[in-house]
């Protein structure tokens, strides 16, 4: 106990790599603790999105025809292109960490900027094209939603599908915006030379978050766009 209260011996800063926190045995333990802590947070995120996925599953089972009509009204091209964009951004994020691990500062900055560009492209496609088209097709609940007569008995519950669609993709987009902001800070830190092959914890942990957001979309894409009997539209438009 006397040791803990004692002042640091002079020159202690030279004894450990930058970014090393004193409570850890070594950088390896610090790295594992950081990743574990981030995963605990991501598990709460799994439960956060999980509530929406569970509710979606229940109401899809109860109102299947309405959900299938809603799903077929979505544009699968936007969904597929955005999936490819997001997977690409996960690759550049992983490569940014690889560049930091191998001490390539310039490459780290370039890959982080590429990740931001791909993230922005995803959001631009979603807000500027997809949601705008949804608005003009009158399928936004609360903003002039039009229940078409040809939907018949399934019509009244089609807005419910679109509530799930806008809440789930909206919550996902919010996570993307937060991730984009974090990437901006990381790019600045990388530019300032804050990361070394020994210390790149902010990159690793933010990478876990970015990949998690990618995984959420990997499930949203088939659940919203693909499993609504899309084959029925072949030739029909």
């Amino acid at each position: 106990m006397a040791d803990a209260a004692a002042p640091h011996p002079s020159g202690h800063a030279a004894a450990h790599p930058p970014g090393f926190a004193h409570q850890f045995e070594d950088m390896g333990q610090q790295h594992e603790a950081g990743s574990l802590g981030m995963w605990v947070f991501l598990v709460t995120e799994i439960m956060f999105f999980g509530g929406l996925f569970a509710t979606y599953t229940i109401y899809r089972a109860l109102y299947l025809p309405s959900f299938e009509i809603g799903s077929r009204l979505l544009n699968v091209k936007f969904g597929a292109v955005n999936t490819v964009i997001l997977i690409g951004s996960s690759l550049t994020m992983a490569l940014a960490i690889h560049a930091a691990q191998t001490g390539k500062r310039q490459a780290t900055v370039v890959y982080l900027i590429l990740t931001m560009i791909l993230g922005a492209a995803f959001l631009f496609l979603k807000f500027n094209f997809e949601w705008t088209a949804d608005y003009h097709e009158h399928v936004v609940p609360g903003f002039g939603f039009f229940v078409r007569p040809e939907w018949g008995a399934a019509g009244p519950h089609v807005p419910m599908f679109f509530c799930f669609y806008f809440f789930m993709t909206g919550l996902h987009a919010l996570h993307m915006i937060i991730g984009f902001s974090i990437l901006g800070v990381l790019t600045w830190m990388a530019h300032r030379g804050r990361f070394t092959p020994e210390y790149y914890a902010p990159l690793e942990i933010s990478g876990l978050y970015w990949h998690f957001v990618d995984i959420v979309w990997i499930f949203l894409f088939p659940l919203l766009y693909l499993i609504g009997g899309r084959y029925a539209l072949r030739g029909g438009g």
Binding site: V43, M47, A61, V84, L91, A94, H98, Q101, L226
Partner: protein, 110 residues
């Protein structure tokens, strides 16, 4: 010392697999497989998730404690979905069970 360095070749391979699986799942959605459409779409999504978790998120090289936390997370999600579904889908969705409505009318006439 710190994290395991995954070769760039592995990352690019995982990326190519994820793109191929995205094309596959999109293509299969246009083929009528009946109930199997949902099963195939979810199986492909789970495969993609595992590739991202194991390689992009470095869990293949993570210690057992981290893996235990992740597995526990998905186990809890399974409880959430399974028990909610078991409840909602077995109620029969009648407005108010018969004996209850009689009881209510006795306790609060009109």
């Amino acid at each position: 010392m710190s994290g395991h360095i995954v070769p760039v070749k592995t990352y690019v391979g995982i990326f190519a697999s994820l793109i191929a699986l995205t094309l596959l799942t999109t293509g299969v959605a246009f083929v009528d497989l009946g109930r199997l459409n949902t099963v195939v779409a979810l199986a492909i999504a789970v495969t993609k998730m595992l590739l991202v978790i194991l390689f992009f998120m470095h869990v293949k090289y993570s210690p057992g404690l981290t893996r235990l936390v992740i597995i526990a997370g998905f186990f809890w999600l399974a409880i959430l979905v399974a028990i909610s579904l078991a409840d909602e889908l077995t109620r029969g969705w009648s407005p108010t069970p018969q004996p209850w409505s009689i009881l209510i009318s006795l306790l609060a006439p009109e």
